[in-house]
Symmetry: C5
Subunit: 310 residues, 5 copies
């Protein structure tokens, strides 16, 4: 609990090594677009060869076929929309973190404990909150329920969760059942129940919101039209440039296609932010943060009360 | 219940087959804009013929009549607005899914059951939630109440719903009546009633929000002005290009008109996202998801309680 | 109640008759901008005459005086801001529809009826909700209270509403008084009162939001600066083009000025969306929808209860 | 109370006198930017003189130093951000109007009156709401508490408000104290208290929101960079244009610098919308509207009850 | 308490000294980008030397490699996103200020005092609110708990806070414990407790929101791609310009690279707004404002009650 990593560390690198970032290969979009870039370069080479050995195929006026302003605006629109989904996904997970923190604090502080077993029940439910986060992560990634959550819940629940379509929804149901039961045992009053159920609703809203982002990509007509324009743009480039650039055509065409395909590719990569790519959201570390916060909470309060601070 | 399809499957294809998507005909806007594109091509041919056989009609300075930057910005504004409606529509349906899930869980967990008939009443009401989603879908599409909901509600309600202007509003009323009745029978307390009614209000808000998107297209003055500019732009193109391109004019004019009409057409198609086109929202599958979640819930809780897990 | 018009009808026309829309005169901005366009055309003619009979006044370098990119961005910013107000206005009215529907359902379902007179009181209050919508519409249009609402409220209130500054605010007060009175008579409990008052607050929020949009146009400095740039732009056009276009200058200048003034005019027209223009919000039909929904509600519930469905 | 001014009057002028607005001097940004524009014109004159009498200083290639597209986008970003703050400020004040209306209606309707003194207390508190709005206005403008509010509150409070850092916060405290006291006297129940306190919280939120807009201008690095680019752009203009324009350089440079400085100046002026400029929010008239609404409310209800309408 | 600084002072300077701001060095991005700018200038010099002494390396057609429109749009997208995070961070802190003010007022007004010790407890809790703000600031900056908060809390808590991962979360827990304890002692009722806990939840939401902004920079693929394009753009500049500009190439290239790197750098600087730079949020002064407001509150109410104003 003392290996505290300053949060600001995560940002600082960018400010320092401007140049290093440029050559960062793994997180960049280069691996994904390299085939298309090479194809465009080879096509440029072909046109250069035809231009040199057969006939003049230069047509500079083709530059108006896909005006660069129109293409630029479409690419930015694409990037913008994809980024908004990325950021909305991040906000939803942020809201999940907040709701779990608040609900955990509320359960821990408000539910009356009559016996040591109640304390145990509480810890079990608090860990269910962590399970909600983890099953949501797995559900969004299309992964089956795995050992990550085995230690956190009883065996019979674990089996049940493996059967259902939507495991986090079942976890929410279990939490709801616990709260209702404590309410019926008069361990919480109805105001507290209402407030807690609202937080539970928010958690289910987050689940629904993430599913929405995942299941509804940008309208496919848009996606197709952009790809078609990009292809037309890149294939007309050699005809525009070959007269002036001669044998420089292939490398220059490659660089230009790298520019535009790269922007489109970023859009594709961050559109679904729940995957396992380098550019996706760090869901693993978010789930871990939640788990640490919950364990710290379970650990803190009893010690607080023993010392009878208030 | 074991044929779980990983959600992530839906996105993956895009990441794999970049090239295949380009030639996807059905979902693209090509069928819709092909007549306009052919018309522009033929007009380009006509101008080429006149240019070649009669007199020089080339007027390159016409390029400033509708500056491509202005046209580009307007097209992007159009796309942007249409996409915002598309996405708002999706958000509303996402919020409907969330509200129904939460309300269903609340009814199932909180309403006290005194007799087996109460259990039946509950199931009936939970299915009413599904009916709300389906009637909203039908209402937004202007379709009559059909057999989809016949099995979910009693016959007398079914007849009534066929008579009214706004069926989902009547379904909301029926749910409201049920909750009020359970409240009067002391099966839920007033806090729970309030919380449930708020969720019901959210459902009616979604209905109103969808109607708003459907009934209020982009201001017609804007729509007309954009179409006028597009037509002027495409009709001046051959005069700008004929001097330099000669017989290449018709195909090039076709490609340019394809570019700009395509962007406008996407705007038109996604502006009303509740239809049956390939680019509209998958309302069918959303309604199905709701139905599956509800049936799983009806199935889960009793088994949970029998085992007396808590 | 059987003349149900499919909602989707309203959008479909656009999808069908692309060409017809272009020549739609009444809803377009043409009538509003025609004087300015003719003025610019005549100015172009004047410059052409001077150019031909007196001296060369061509100055192609003037094209950089108001760069078309800067003008384009400003116009799009203008359109964007105006559209946002239009859409916010629409959202506010959508929220009014939702609140009225929810409040009406709540009053009808929750308020206990002890005598037939109570039923009458209820209907009277439900109609007050319709009056709230209609008076808001009239208030936003600066129209006096008129016969539209005479049949919906008692005479003495009608007179009172004619005297005050802000009639919808007084209607909200009357509804608030009714709810408070029912609360004091124990016909609703405090939870229900609170929920209903919140909906009433939302209705007053809508009123305030609409007043805000109406009373706060875009900052006048912005509006002036844009108009000044547009004028400079259009008046330098003939000097730029006359050398190359000769006698084609007047028509071309007219078309360009039509393009840019048209975009500005759309901004002006939709900035205040509560008026009576073809491009304003269909407040009449929204108020009618509210009235139909309320009347259907008044008609539905008693029949439901008689059949004792639950 | 009969001198009702139709709200729509405020917008109409724009629609009528398009040309008049152009020459509206006071509200435009011209007075603020005239020195910079003249400076640029004189600099242009200097370059023209050097060009004509000494040596050729024309350097048309300088046009790429600050590409007009980059400058245009930055200016629009600036305008956009400033406008968003302007509009957010307006929304906050709109929300203040709504909260005060709702809180006033609630206090007037819900608080039980046992004696004529209670009625007086009520009026006093309702006027405190007006005082909250006025002190917020003064606080945002950095003006001291003045006679505007002297008639609305008792002398001892008036003195106290003059002493403190944040007068509206103290007014909120006084209103909170009143509500708490009525609650302790059983004149309102806890639900009503909660609802009222929420509205009071909203009022304090508005205060905090306005302070936030006021205290956090656009990041200064951005502001500096934009000014630097503008200066570089305007100072390279004469070199670009002098070869072609000769003695027309000074006026043309003036017009261009007028265009770009004007856009930046609008951003500066509307960034802090709480001042006293012609382009700032009409806080005076908003406070007056609040006062009129409150006085009408104080006047209306007793007459309503006397006639025993319900 | 009389050294009141008018808030408007903070904005005014910008309006006055337009020219002074340009030469403000410390807050500008110049120090950060100067190495890159010099590098580009030296590279330009190198190309000029090669061009002059060896061979013609001018390639004006390279201007289409990274079209300035595409680069411009990407830079604006970058600035936009960064500014949105800056502004969202500011909003979160604004919301923290509001919540603390409201919660403090509520605690001070609503919690019944039975003994002088209760008053003391209250003051202690109010100061805990200040501690929440300060620890959040320190947590976001990765700084350890320091003497700033030593005087505000008891020693034992101070030690505990030094041990944990997330100190503000523990402070929220302490506040929650206090409220629960007062509730159990019947000093506040459940409505008041619910309202207060909601405000506490908002405070924890702010903490989570700030962590989200801090931990999730713009997707790194985007950041890399932009840097790559900027480098390609700046390195092709000398080839484009050297033919025309000759020995003017180095300074002009420097100015252009200053323009574009400057915009990118602003994005980097304001992306994480919680640091200690001149362009970051003034968290110190926000925390101070909170402290002043709380102390003024602790000071005001008792004096108000002594005078028995109500």
């Amino acid at each position: 609990m003392s290996e505290k990593i300053p949060l600001s560390k995560i940002i600082e690198p960018e400010e320092k090594s401007w140049l290093k970032i440029i050559f960062c290969w793994r997180s960049s979009v280069i691996p994904a677009i390299i085939p298309r870039v090479i194809f465009c370069g080879l096509f440029g080479l072909l046109i250069s060869l035809i231009h040199y050995y057969y006939t003049d195929v230069g047509l500079p006026v083709l530059s108006s076929v896909v005006p660069s302003i129109v293409l630029g605006l479409l690419l930015v629109f694409r990037t913008n929309t994809a980024y908004e989904r990325f950021w909305e996904g991040r906000k939803l997970w942020g809201s999940l973190v907040n709701s779990i923190r608040n609900l955990a604090r509320m359960i821990w502080v408000s539910v009356t404990e009559n016996s040591p077993k109640d304390r145990e029940e509480k810890s079990k439910t608090l860990r269910l909150l962590v399970v909600f986060a983890i099953t949501t992560k797995l559900h969004l990634r299309g992964q089956p329920i795995n050992s990550e959550i085995r230690d956190l819940i009883p065996e019979c629940w674990y089996e049940r969760l493996q059967e259902v379509h939507n495991p986090p929804l079942q976890v929410a149901l279990l939490i709801g059942e616990y709260l209702q039961q404590e309410f019926e045992r008069n361990c919480i009053n109805s105001y507290q129940l209402t407030a807690m159920l609202k937080l539970l609703d928010t958690m289910v809203d987050v689940l629904g919101g993430c599913e929405r982002i995942l299941k509804t990509p940008i309208p496919v007509a848009y996606s197709i039209h952009l790809k078609q324009l990009l292809l037309i743009y890149c294939l007309t480039l050699p005809f525009q440039l070959v007269t002036e650039l001669a044998w420089w055509t292939p490398p220059i065409v490659s660089v230009i296609s790298f520019t535009v395909f790269g922007i489109e590719q970023i859009g594709i990569e961050i559109e679904n932010p729940f995957g396992l790519d380098a550019n996706d959201l760090p869901l693993e570390s978010i789930c871990q943060t939640i788990q640490i916060n919950i364990e710290e909470l379970i650990d803190f309060i009893p010690r607080l009360r023993e010392r009878k601070i208030f």
